[in-house]
């Protein structure tokens, strides 16, 4: 495994597992949308890694959306900022206002993108 991994990868893997649990299924039911999340290691828009967080099917996949149709909203983050948002250190609205998060697509879908849909990593 490459050493240039993103911190967000850990969150995404956690999310993938999380969606198979009862709590994860609840999230899927509640949101029911497909998000695309672009994560850049250092600078927004550069060397982005694309994740699809499909909260219709309860899946997290790397790469472009292949489910047919469009994603409901696309977010772009820097790696650190995504971790901050996913772990509740940064409010998504504030991230947006500060320019740490870019949004494309439906804003009503974007509004449902809250930190509580992501599981929190536990510490060793």
């Amino acid at each position: 495994m490459a050493t240039t991994q993103l911190k967000s990868d850990a969150i995404m893997d956690l999310m993938k597992e999380h969606l198979s649990t009862d709590a994860g299924k609840e999230v899927t039911e509640k949101i029911g949308l497909v998000y695309q999340i672009n994560i850049a290691p250092k600078k927004l828009g550069f060397e982005e890694v694309t994740y699809i967080v499909d909260l219709k099917k309860g899946q997290v996949t790397k790469g472009k959306y292949e489910g047919g149709g469009k994603v409901d909203a696309t977010f772009s983050f820097k790696d650190d900022d995504f971790v901050k948002v996913a772990t509740g250190k940064m409010n998504p609205q504030i991230a947006f206002i500060r320019g740490a998060m870019k949004i494309k697509g439906s804003l009503s879908a974007a509004q449902k993108f809250t930190p509580d849909i992501f599981p929190k990593p536990s510490k060793l």
Binding site: M1, A2, T3, T4, Q5, K7, A10, I11, D13, L14, E17, H18, S20, T21, D22, A23, E26, V83, K84, T87, G88, K89, M90, N91, Q93, I94, I97, S106, L107, S108, Q111, K112, T114, P115, D116, P119, K120, P121, S122, K123, L124
Partner: protein
């Protein structure tokens, strides 16, 4: 300046811009007494220059009044048409295209009464009671028709005709005129009728005013619309956007706007209304003020101007100057050699307001005025202006409207889920502060506490170790801080401080302390492992890998199997393979299994990590941090129920293990049991209020169980309240 100069017309008294007189006092005297032959002549030229009967025609004799420039009343006194044309001619010389064109439009388009005949000398005069005057007047109209000669408008005393009378006269006269002049052209008939009507102070405006305002609803709408453009703030944002877009289409470019503004205010509306109002004002209120007073006023104005320009303070304060300036402002009038107070200027303003701003409303008046200028024409122009000019300015408006403005507005109004906007901002500020301190810490600089009671303690190291053993982590951290401030090279002090912070769930501080420990003792295995663990927790994989590999290389037993060249290009798989090798060399070494467990956590091979930790636990069953590592790994591999029992083991061994308490909360929260998670977070925070992660998670859980009321306590870090609310 001497009085003599005023009388003789010395050079100092020359009134700037005045050609009429170089002797202001003399001019005033002339005006007051009428002794100047010139003025006398002028006054004679005015028909009916008595105070009893100034009809509108009186003011149409503009020659006289033009000689009194500058008086605030002189311009409006002029007959509307004459004054208007003068006014706009002035504009035309300045701006050929804009107002001039607009004026032409008005001239040709509007049914203005023909001006020509009205300026000709008048034959009959009418006196007596209104009824007789009117009948005589109408007779003369009829007689003029017999001869087929154009009817000359005549000055008529104010007859006090009611609106309906005027309407009636107007209708009847136009019908009659059509009978009389059946053989003449339409224009002639109109001229005749208009001449009659203008003599009787009946004009189209009055006629129009008799109509029901409802007829001009369309115009009212236009008006309202344009009002809306001028005050967009009054509308909700979404309707604003729509309306703005619409208006943008309507108006086209700036030229169109100028045109419509002229149409609304400049040419047709305002000027006409002002003129009309003035003539009404004249006939109603200003009747009593005769020509003489106006002339006197003008002269005093000039005199006052001359006097006030003199530097002599005696003059400046003299009662004479005050008197003169009062006269010039019309506050005093001379009436038959008596000085009387005139109408106060303030009243004039009030009257003006009543006349123009009072009921009927401006919109109504506007609509009515429009009729006299041909509303259809106006509407047509407006519509054509719409279609013609869709300039580039509109394009952004269109684009703007294409965006999902409404969506955004709606959603913004809804606010963030489960949080008031005020909370969001407060949170944001808090986050911002946290973030900034976090940034400080990311650089690996240890942040000391501000108030440390252990500074100056004789043996802070011993005290710190004792406190750590008792499980008073926050206190231990303070004592150890005091120690490392005293002895910055004390590796064990830094290491224990790092461990304390790790157990207190503060990885940033733990890393900072461990780095100092590593500086002091680069090969300390415990320090290297702790750094590997903390960086793993911070998801900093590469750094974690470096320290874990450092652990292997510095290990006296396994250092040999770690090739030094590998340090330049660390791959997780290689390191894991080496550790597996090491564990096979010495399966009873729990530490190797622990490092392996951490490594598998890094690669998120949680099952392997769990196996490694479980193996290590068999060798070291009383290592509370090992139980926590197992629990955390299980939690991260979504085995939260197992995790909770592992945490419980850790807490049994070390009840003040803040990290385990916080992890408990996370495990409940990740299972969607937010309510259950809260007491664990609160418990962790009660032991270490500096555990920022726990605060954030607590806030999320409170939001998820709709306990926004306690977010405030969360912001102010009011642990007493939170502990009372959520006892464990």
């Amino acid at each position: 300046m001497a009085m003599r100069d005023l009388v003789n017309g010395g050079a100092a008294c020359a009134v700037p811009g005045s050609s009429s007189s170089s002797n202001p006092l003399g001019a005033l005297t002339n005006a007051l007494l009428g002794s100047s032959s010139k003025t006398q002549e002028r006054l004679k030229e005015i028909p009916n220059a008595s105070r009893s009967g100034p009809g509108p025609q009186f003011y149409s004799e503009d020659q006289q009044l033009r000689s009194l420039p500058g008086s605030e009343l002189d311009q409006p006194i002029l007959q509307p048409g004459a004054q208007g044309s003068e006014f706009f001619r002035g504009f035309r010389s300045v701006d050929q295209n804009g107002l001039g064109a607009a004026w032409d439009e008005v001239q040709h388009g509007g049914p203005m009464p023909p001006l020509g005949p009205m300026y000709e000398p008048v034959q009959p005069t009418f006196e007596g009671p209104p009824q007789r005057v009117l009948s005589n007047f109408l007779h003369s109209f009829v007689e003029s028709s017999r001869g087929g000669i154009p009817f000359r408008p005549a000055p008529v005393p104010v007859l006090g005709l009611s609106q309906s009378d005027k309407q009636c006269i107007r209708d009847r006269s136009s019908i009659m005129a059509r009978h009389f002049f059946a053989d003449r052209g339409e224009e002639f008939i109109n001229n005749q009728v208009n001449a009659l009507l203008s003599s009787l102070d009946i004009d189209d405006g009055i006629q129009a005013r008799g109509h029901i305002p409802g007829r001009f609803r369309e115009l009212d709408e236009y008006w309202n619309e344009s009002q809306a453009v001028m005050k967009p703030g009054l509308h909700p944002a979404d309707s604003w956007a729509a309306e703005f877009n619409q208006r943008g289409m309507d108006h086209g470019g700036p030229d169109a706007w100028v045109q419509s503004f002229e149409q609304q205010h400049g040419v047709n509306g305002w000027a006409t209304e002002f003129e009309q109002g003035q003539s009404q004002l004249m006939s109603n209120q200003m009747r009593s003020m005769d020509m003489q007073n106006l002339a006197a006023m003008e002269q005093t104005r000039k005199l006052a101007h001359t006097l006030s320009q003199d530097g002599n303070p005696k003059f400046q304060n003299s009662r004479f100057l005050q008197f003169v300036s009062k006269m010039s402002r019309g506050e005093l009038i001379i009436d038959e050699n008596e000085v009387k107070p005139g109408p106060v200027p303030g009243e004039w303003a009030t009257e003006y307001e009543q006349q123009y701003l009072g009921p009927p409303s401006w919109a109504d008046q506007f609509a009515n005025e429009k009729l006299s200028r041909g509303p259809e024409q106006w509407a047509d122009e407006f519509a054509s202006g719409r279609g013609q000019q869709e300039s580039a300015d509109d394009q952004w408006v269109n684009e703007f409207s294409k965006l999902h403005v409404n969506d955004w507005v709606d959603e913004f109004a809804e606010g963030p889920v489960g949080e008031s906007s005020a909370d969001a901002w407060a949170n944001a500020y808090d986050e911002f502060l946290t973030e900034r301190s976090a940034e400080k810490q990311t650089s690996g600089v240890y942040v000391f506490s501000d108030m440390n009671p252990y500074v100056g303690h004789p043996e802070p190291m011993k005290e710190g170790q004792e406190l750590f053993r008792k499980g008073l982590l926050s206190e231990a951290a303070l004592a150890l801080e005091a120690e490392v401030m005293k002895n910055p090279e004390n590796a064990e002090g830094w290491r224990l401080l790092g461990v304390t912070h790790a157990e207190n769930d503060d990885d940033q501080q733990a890393i900072a302390a461990m780095m100092r420990a590593q500086e002091a003792d680069p090969s300390n295995l415990e320090v290297l492992l702790a750094l590997g663990v903390s960086h793993t927790n911070e998801l900093e994989q590469a750094t974690a890998l470096k320290y874990l590999y450092g652990w292997l290389r510095n290990h006296p037993k396994y250092g040999a199997i770690a090739p030094p060249e590998l340090a330049d290009s660390l791959y997780h798989a290689d390191i894991a393979r080496l550790f597996t090798e090491a564990s096979q060399m010495n399966p009873e070494d729990a530490d190797v299994h622990i490092v392996l467990g951490v490594l598998y956590n890094l690669s998120r091979e949680f099952d392997r990590a769990i196996t490694s930790f479980q193996t290590a636990l068999k060798l070291k069953p009383n290592d509370y941090s090992l139980w926590n590592k197992l629990g955390a790994t299980q939690a991260n591999s979504v085995q939260s129920a197992d995790a909770i029992s592992a945490y419980q083991q850790a807490l049994d061994l070390k009840p003040n293990y803040v990290r385990a308490w916080a992890n408990m909360g996370i495990s409940y929260a990740n299972q969607g049991m937010y309510k259950e998670s809260i007491p664990y977070y609160v418990r962790a925070l009660a032991m270490n209020p500096k555990a920022d992660n726990a605060w954030q998670y607590l806030r999320l859980s409170l939001s998820c169980v709709s306990r926004q009321d306690l977010l405030e306590a969360c912001e102010s870090r009011n642990l007493d309240l939170l502990q009372k609310e959520f006892p464990l």
